[in-house]
């Protein structure tokens, strides 16, 4: 992008629209520091790709997996990233349906996390395959082999659920971007103008288009919530459907969903804080947004504790030999340090930070979210590995230590997330411009349905920057 182009965009005389200008700045202006960051992240992703090719060439033996621990870091990452993906769509769909006005600057950040985390998460079952080049055998299509995949397998359910969720969350992310792309189409020049012209689909903004868009988003919000719940329930069923001690549990569905939303909100808070700093969106992502997401996080933290107590206490009282072996290994045995780190990260540290109003600042919520992301990764690890190490017959108990290949690939995905996000931010305004502008006026439809005088007492009044100020 040339300086001339930027000047034209930023100083256009007819541009009286500060909000649009602020939100388009990150798209149209990229500092060298961002290029450097992208290159550094790209190097990590490349290292991960190299590690994956190395593993595919030599065999899974280059990982730390063994008998009986056939699943390790890869499946941990799979569950973790699919969990992170619940940030978005679920949160923004719920807030959209509840008509929470503070959601407006937050939704697109969240929906983008969903899509990228899903793509990263869904790549892990393939990375972890013994013969990854045959992954398409999971797809139901009339193949020359004359055989269909087995729909009894929870892995097939995973495939269906993740496909549905990815389709839904892509639509949920992309549909409301169309009007913003139309704005970009009008302002960009050069190759970007051509690109946005195609992406905007010829959007103008007639009453008909607006009505259909809002209706589509309402339907998508209704549909995406049960899909999101089903996705992580089915991920939990990968474990719960097999007779492995501490996996075979009825509580796993809701436990996983709660954990997913928990880690998802944490990831969202971190992403928002980074965007706010890097893209200078201080006026749009305000402390009040972090405060409210912090409250949600607090609720989820409590819910997480509730589930882990419900899970572990019943196992302890049930006192079935194979299950207690796993339980004690996690709580008192070799996994003790990891287990209690997890409890600290998910509850003991974030709880006071999020519960005390004075600490629930941007810094506070980011600290809490960071520990939660670590804690939730550990939680997934402690679900996957101990049960396999201590499965039934003690003669076959084992030991798992990840190899450099697994660690490299794991780090690569943690770099892939910000990389994809940065690229996204460079093509799409990360805050939905038209929705934010719509929020400047009271919503007439909603206002008509509410009692008079409601507007004045709206606690969200003034949470959004007003144009022209």
């Amino acid at each position: 992008m040339t300086t001339r182009e930027r000047q034209r965009l930023e100083a256009a005389p007819q541009d009286r629209d500060r909000l649009t200008r602020d939100l388009l700045r990150p798209v149209l202006h990229t500092s060298p520091r961002i290029y450097l960051t992208m290159m550094a992240l790209g190097a990590f992703v490349l290292a991960g790709l190299v590690a994956f090719v190395y593993q595919a060439y030599w065999g899974m033996g280059v990982s730390g997996l063994n008998r009986p621990v056939f699943w390790g870091f890869y499946i941990t990452n799979f569950v973790f990233w699919i969990g992170i993906s619940h940030a978005g769509t679920l949160i923004s769909a719920i807030l959209r349906l509840a008509n929470a006005r503070w959601r407006r600057p937050v939704t697109r950040c969240a929906e983008a996390i969903t899509v990228f985390a899903l793509v990263i998460g869904a790549s892990f079952p393939i990375i972890h395959l013994g013969r990854p080049w045959l992954f398409f055998w999971l797809i139901p299509y009339p193949s020359e082999r004359g055989i269909w995949p087995n729909f009894r397998s929870p892995l097939l359910w995973d495939f269906c659920a993740i496909t549905t969720y990815l389709t839904g969350s892509l639509a949920f992310l992309l549909l409301p971007i169309i009007p913003d792309w139309a704005t970009l189409r009008d302002r960009a020049i050069g190759w970007r103008k051509k690109l946005y012209r195609v992406l905007a689909l010829g959007w103008r903004g007639t009453p008909r288009e607006w009505h259909r868009l809002e209706m589509a988003m309402r339907i998508m919000a209704v549909v995406i919530i049960p899909v999101a719940v089903s996705v992580h329930t089915i991920v939990s069923w990968d474990f719960a459907m097999v007779p492995v001690p501490m996996w075979h549990s009825t509580v796993f569905g809701p436990y996983f969903v709660a954990g997913a939303i928990f880690s998802g909100i944490a990831a969202l808070i971190i992403a928002m804080a980074l965007l706010r700093k890097i893209l200078h969106l201080e006026e749009y992502l305000k402390p009040i947004h972090f405060d409210h997401l912090g409250k949600l996080l607090l609720v989820m933290s409590l819910l997480w504790v509730y589930f882990i107590v419900a899970e572990r206490l019943t196992v302890w009282y049930g006192n079935a030999t194979p299950e207690v072996a796993v339980l004690l290994a996690t709580q008192r045995g070799k996994f003790l340090p990891l287990f209690w780190t997890m409890v600290c990260c998910n509850f003991l540290i974030p709880f006071p930070i999020l519960a005390i109003k004075r600490l629930r600042t941007i810094t506070g919520t980011v600290i809490a979210s960071s520990t939660i992301v670590v804690g939730m990764w550990l939680e997934r690890f402690l679900i996957v590995v101990p049960s396999l190490e201590f499965k039934y017959l003690p003669f076959s108990w084992g030991n798992y230590r990840p190899s450099w290949v697994e660690i490299t690939i794991t780090l690569a995905t943690f770099a892939a997330m910000p990389l994809l996000y940065l690229l996204f931010v460079k093509f799409v305004p990360i805050i939905s411009m038209w929705e934010l502008k719509g929020g400047e006026h009271p919503e007439p439809a909603a206002a008509a349905e509410l009692a008079p005088g409601h507007e004045a007492s709206d606690p969200w009044e003034g949470t959004l920057p007003s144009a022209g100020s």
């Binding site: 030599w58 065999g59 699943w71 013969r131 995949p149 087995n150 397998s153 492995v244 039934y392 003669f395």
Partner: protein, 228 residues
């Protein structure tokens, strides 16, 4: 009525000599993992002899339990396979079709007996073992699961032999390598659907127990508990 292959293992007779393990490796082209990989848990042995001690020193008794795949009727490994690589064949065996396997290793996790094995690398044999590979058994490439087949290749040979001679298969005519090589005769193999077969008679004894019966897998291997 179709056959339903089953096995009885008399724990009273097992001496823990591990001849079954060696015979199995030779019959089924089981790759050798090498010392360091074996230490990491990568060794493949379709049958293992579990050794355990009972009592306090000096009144210690050692116990042995040979554990191959239990060939469950309700096998947890089968429904979880997304590609039908692990499936239930007509004679009741939990078969593994190597060419269908993409290596999710889900079956291995689902198996309560840890009776399934993964090919972590391309198979190789310590010299000169590569010279005695069995032509009746396919070699498994890296990335696929494998497991005990009850030496099904032997059953197929015996069945076609009997058919050629126009006679029914006799009890005891088929035996897997482990059964054949057991010096103390601790293992008996046969058709569980034939009430007159030795394996049916022994499986009905009061001493007969199933391994991890509480998991509900309905194994076709019956262990005769120790009396001595």
């Amino acid at each position: 009525m179709s056959r339903r292959w089953g096995m009885v293992i008399d724990l009273d007779r097992c001496t823990g000599c591990e001849a079954c393990v060696v015979a199995c490796s030779a019959e089924n082209n089981i790759a050798t993992a090498g010392e360091s990989q074996a230490a990491k848990g990568r060794a493949i042995h379709w049958i293992r002899v579990e050794r355990s001690w009972e009592g306090e020193f000096p009144n210690v008794r050692v116990r042995f339990r040979p554990v191959p795949c239990q060939q469950c009727d309700a096998a947890p490994c089968e429904p979880v396979c997304p590609t039908y690589a692990s499936y239930h064949n007509a004679e009741g065996l939990n078969a593994q079709v190597y060419n269908r396997c993409i290596g999710t290793r889900y079956c291995a996790n689902a198996c309560p007996y840890t009776g399934r094995f993964f090919n972590w690398f391309q198979p190789s044999w310590d010299k000169p073992l590569q010279l005695q590979l069995n032509p009746d058994v396919s070699i498994r490439e890296a990335g696929v699961m494998e497991k005990c087949t009850f030496c099904y290749q032997r059953a197929l040979v015996a069945e076609s032999q009997a058919e050629a001679e126009k006679r029914p298969l006799r009890d005891g005519e088929v035996s897997p390598a482990c059964v054949q090589s057991c010096p103390s005769g601790a293992m008996v193999f046969g058709d569980l659907n034939d009430p007159a077969s030795a394996v049916s008679r022994l499986a009905g004894l009061d001493r007969g127990v199933k391994l991890l019966e509480e998991v509900g897998t309905f194994p076709k291997i019956t262990y005769l508990a120790r009396e001595s």
